[in-house]
């Protein structure tokens, strides 16, 4: 399968595990790596997918780990600060995705089936920096989200539309 056809990108090689990276972050701030935090990090980096706080609580519970909702929220905030996760804000509810060990990318969002496809494009960075320069901004990040209808949904809906027009 060509890269352009995939929903997810290949991971990037990193020297430390997310857990090690998190411990370093916590140590610097004089904070502690507890068992619930370990469970969370292991679970989150066990699979690559977008998720929200609620899903995480449910998944953990199903896997037999009991971590309280408050700890989940508190730890997610930390993981974002640590640069391990990135907040997506695709809809009203906050979703998260891996940031560490994963290449910079943006998203295509199919408004019909709600699928999110990741893509990488170098020109966006170039454009971002050019626009920032024009406006005297020092860019620190960006979000490029394309809404549309994916190929599968277009195929599924086009015939129905034709009938509607008769």
């Amino acid at each position: 399968m060509a890269d352009a056809q995939r929903d997810q990108l290949a991971p990037v090689a990193v020297s430390d595990s997310p857990l090690v990276k998190f411990r370093e972050f916590l140590e610097i701030r004089g904070e502690k790596l507890t068992e619930p935090r370990r469970v969370l990090v292991r679970h989150i980096f066990n699979s690559h997918k977008h998720f929200d706080a609620d899903e995480l609580v449910r998944d953990l519970h199903d896997a037999g780990h009991q971590v309280s909702r408050s700890t989940v929220y508190r730890t997610l905030r930390l993981l974002v600060e640590a640069g391990l996760l990135r907040e997506l804000r695709l809809t009203n509810r906050n979703a998260f995705e891996h940031d560490y060990g994963y290449p910079a990318h943006d998203h295509l969002h199919c408004t019909a089936c709600n699928r999110v496809v990741e893509f990488r494009n170098e020109e966006i960075l170039r454009l971002r920096d050019a626009i920032s320069l024009e406006h005297g901004f020092r860019p620190t990040g960006h979000r490029f989200l394309i809404d549309g209808v994916c190929a599968a949904c277009s195929r599924a809906h086009t015939p129905r539309r034709r009938l509607d027009l008769i």
Copy 2:
């Protein structure tokens, strides 16, 4: 002031007033143009700025118009469906901006002072369409948000940083 220096873009000429456009939209759906809705549309299109539901309720109240919170939320949803407003979702709370009578554009967001600057760039559209094509998407819209620090905040903070390093 050059365009590149402005926070807001110049409006685009449109033949109908927002109110007329809204009435047409409501008529098609067999819905009604009531006094609260008229008040809301007039107020919203009276000034061009980003706002959220809460601000709107407060502003209306200060201007002596009493429109209930629920009606504000309900009408905002309608105005988005009618293509008069666009939802921004810059932060967790939903902000809105004019869509009708205003050119397509994207946003620079200063994370220091929280100011939002609008900009227009044709290349983004080109890039959006090229990327969509690659992935078999039919694009319907996009959001390009650049986070960073604006010129004023950079100037304000740089000296402080230098002192911190002593």
